[in-house]
Amino acid sequence: MQGFDRKAMAARLAQDIPEGWYVNLGIGIPTMVGDYVPLDREVILHSENGILGMGPAPAKDKVDPWLVNAGKQAVTLRAGGSYCHHADSFAMIRGGHIDLCVLGAFEVAQNGDIANWATSENDTAPAVGGAMDLGAGAKRLWVIMEHTTKDGRPKLVEACGYPLTTPRAVKRVYTNLGVFDVVAEKGFVVVDLAPGVLLEQVQAASGAVLHTQ
């Protein structure tokens, strides 16, 4: 069972983002999604730290130290982009103006619960950042993550074991094995599978029932 590598996962998700959407990409694999949106399709990337219309990483000799993304990496601004302060930036998120947020996760439950910020209730100093704002505020939350943990435990689950980031928020999950919708009163529904991956393999790697459409 091979499935997608990380780049292919990011590319698979990118193909589902229509022109004109305002999109916030989380740290890690989500950030890679931006690289796979075709250049002729205008998608406007938002970053929590007050950037709307974010562009790709700059050439090394073009780095502006005043311009970083939410992961604190150097980025650029596209023509038409703008800057604002943190409360205005989160007004965009919390006021329901962001069409799509893409986050990584530790676990996604079949009711749409997401856990992606703390590994236990006893975690001494977990870092929440803007994840709870994005989970509660964006019009849609999609998750992109490996289908299982490094030691093989499923990350699609019946109920999250880790502390929640946001309840009932995830609409769709992209993994190395496929794409899964989260459907109310049903659970995970297979949208499609990575090339060469069989449904029974994916089911075996999942902690919740996968429905077919």
């Binding site: 002729d40 205008e42 406007i44 601004l77 703008s82 998120i93 919390r94 103006h97």
Partner: protein, 226 residues
């Protein structure tokens, strides 16, 4: 390619439904989207709730919309002024509802709607008849009233410059209610004096980012406003 610029007022008004709550920018004549209001009259939507600082002036614009019987209710801070003849006639005749809101509370309620805040507390109006029937609560020994977000189906705003992503700038005191109304409505329509190429507006100095704007149309306000 994203292109929020529309070429006709019919396109600008498309889809505005009867019964809509319409936020209308401006403070007096300044920053007031006169051409969009005329287009809304032309469009014909009725049973509207209009939110604006004033209740219209003379017999044009918002006053005309009211005179035509299209406005069920007005939410404003300052309904009575020298020129608010239409409103006063309708109000005395019981043909229009009125909700008076302190000006700062009105602005903050729309900003709250745009920012995902369903309710907040403020000291404004505590101890007055405008707090009657509102929940009150003490914080740190002072009493506050709870106010709710004020959301629009439509916002009509006036900017100075706009581009095809919907970014806007405002000129001088023409800004006033326009930015908070733009963020508080599902459909925000902006009239601007100048269309700029994408990238011409300075990124630090965009006053309303395009995420809050649905449509942009250029209007000629005449030489006095140029």
């Amino acid at each position: 390619m994203i292109n929020k610029i529309v070429q006709s007022m019919a396109e600008a008004m498309a889809g505005i439904k009867d019964g809509s709550t319409v936020l209308i920018g401006g403070f007096g004549a300044v920053g007031q989207p006169d051409e969009l209001i005329e287009a809304l009259i032309e469009h014909g939507a009725r049973d509207l709730v209009c939110v604006a600082n004033n209740a219209g002036n003379g017999r044009v614009g918002l006053a005309k919309l009211m005179e035509l019987g299209r406005v069920r209710k007005i939410i404003c801070s300052f309904p009575r002024s020298a020129g608010s003849v239409v409103f006063e006639e309708l109000y005395r005749a019981g043909k229009i509802e009125l909700e008076i809101v302190p000006q700062g509370t009105m602005a903050e309620r729309m900003r709250a709607a745009g920012a995902g805040v369903p309710a907040f507390f403020t000291a404004t109006s505590v101890g007055t008849i405008l707090a009657n029937g509102k929940e009150q609560r003490d914080f740190n020994g002072r009493t506050y009233v709870m106010e709710h977000a004020l959301k629009g189906d439509v916002a009509l705003v006036e900017g100075w410059e706009g581009d095809r992503w919907g970014n806007l700038t405002y000129r001088a005191s023409g800004r006033n209610f326009n930015p908070v109304m733009a963020m508080a409505a599902d459909l925000t329509i902006a009239q601007v004096s100048h269309i700029r190429e994408l990238g011409d507006l300075v990124p630090e100095n965009v006053h309303t980012p395009g995420i809050f704007v649905s449509r942009v149309i250029q209007v000629d306000r005449g030489p006095a406003w140029a």
